[in-house]
């Protein structure tokens, strides 16, 4: 069977990659900070914070989407502020990015956290006794020693974003060329008579993209070292 893609499909593919990239990059500093707080910081109410971070992982994506609507919608909690600032989020690509970021965030944090927990604490104490302050230790020791985990988390989040459907369709809609990503385009094809082969083409693209992400991740992580004791 020939892989046939329409210009609209190409737009959906391009948009998916852009949304997933933006969601992953925007979430990265927050995900790193959340993982750092969970592993190293002494903060009150840590279990509650941990629960909040992990919540999107167990909530149905549609529920996440609905909560985002309640937050960013015209009559939502932030609605008046957004209207005052003349910022429109719902049914725009921004909403697709936010939906992907929220749904994929726990995967990013979880992976970075596992990497941070694997760092021998005496590396950090050694750096401290050698004169490294807080931020210095983060960038010179902690980040390099959990770089593989950061990369793995980014990969997971990117892949999750590529497949995000439930939350996205609620907050961003399914507007071809504007907010229609690969899963939304597949959904539309499956509801269109004779759209099966087009849906299959996009499925193959989706599989190929996910595979490329895994290959890139595997290749990059080989060149990074883990935080083992030397």
């Amino acid at each position: 069977m020939m892989l046939s893609l329409t210009p609209q499909d190409m737009e959906a593919i391009s948009l998916s990659v852009k949304v997933a990239t933006a969601a992953t990059l925007i979430s990265l500093p927050f995900g790193f900070a959340a993982a750092y707080a969970l592993v190293f910081a002494r903060i009150p109410g840590k279990p509650v914070f941990e629960g909040l971070v992990n919540l999107p992982l167990v909530l149905p994506p549609v529920v996440v989407g609905y909560l985002l609507l309640l937050l960013f919608g015209r009559s939502g909690i932030l609605g008046p502020v957004l209207q005052f600032l003349d910022i429109r989020i719902i049914f725009t690509v921004k909403a697709a990015v936010i939906a992907s970021a929220v749904v994929g965030f726990p995967l990013l944090v979880r992976s970075i956290r596992i990497g941070m927990e694997g760092i021998d604490k005496q590396f950090i104490q050694t750096a401290q006794s050698l004169g490294a302050g807080g931020w210095d230790r983060v960038f010179s020791i902690i980040l390099p020693l959990c770089a593989r985990a950061v990369l793995a988390g980014m990969t997971l989040m990117f892949a999750r974003s590529l497949g995000e459907f439930g939350a996205t369709i609620l907050v961003a809609g399914n507007i071809p060329g504007v907010t229609q990503t690969i899963p939304l385009a597949i959904y539309e094809y499956t509801n269109t008579p004779g759209g099966d082969s087009m849906a299959l083409s996009l499925c193959l693209v989706s599989i190929a993209l996910s595979f490329i992400v895994l290959l890139v991740s595997e290749g990059s992580s080989r060149s990074l070292r883990t935080g083992r004791r030397i």
């Binding site: 021998d120 005496q122 590396f123 104490q125 050694t126 750096a127 401290q128 006794s129 050698l130 004169g131 490294a132 302050g133 210095d136 010179s140 020791i141 390099p144 020693l145 070292r225 883990t226 935080g227 083992r228 004791r229 030397i230």
Partner: protein
Amino acid sequence: MLLEVNVNKQIDDFNLHAEFKVSGTRCGIFGSSGSGKSTLMHILAGLLEPDSGRIVLDGIPLFDRENKINIPPQQRRVGVVFQHAHLFPHLNVQRNLLYGWRRTAPADREIAPESIIEILRLSPLLKRSVTTLSGGERQRVALGRTVLACPRLLLMDEPLTGLDEALKMQIIPYLQEVLNSFRIPLLFISHSLQEIEMMTDDVLVFSDGKLRQHLPTEELIAAAR
């Protein structure tokens, strides 16, 4: 060097009480495992906060509960060599060596990297990855890295434990040469009488979290014999 210590620390069922003054340049902390040696070292380095008391090094308070002083480890200039070298695996030997030196204020850089590299015979290793070093080489690099941070006090926590006898005998001359060359005050923690005898002039004997004796090393050795 004048180190004045009077601290208490409770960790679960274990209570450490240490009260002593050390004015020599090479002092040992001797005791069996679980006697509180490592807890004391972590407290002196600022890596563990005592419940009460004070620590004063050369007239400068590092910790004083009453006056709410607790200088963070990165500002204490107290160097630590742990039992395991803990060389940073993502940095090569040279960058490991210079890690502390680069973070030391230029005015405090009393020791030149070249002199340490020469004394510890590290030139051939500089570009190597630390993952390829032998046990003895790793400890030499760890020692060089700590000394290059120009500490006012050097703490060594069982640095020779885990090395075989031949390797120990190889490392000790390097250690002594570094200490003699730069006159860095040393607190050497060990449970080995042989190491205490070779490395220290006087010794604090700990057991069950309490300081039991403070005496010249020769007296401890004579008593043990």
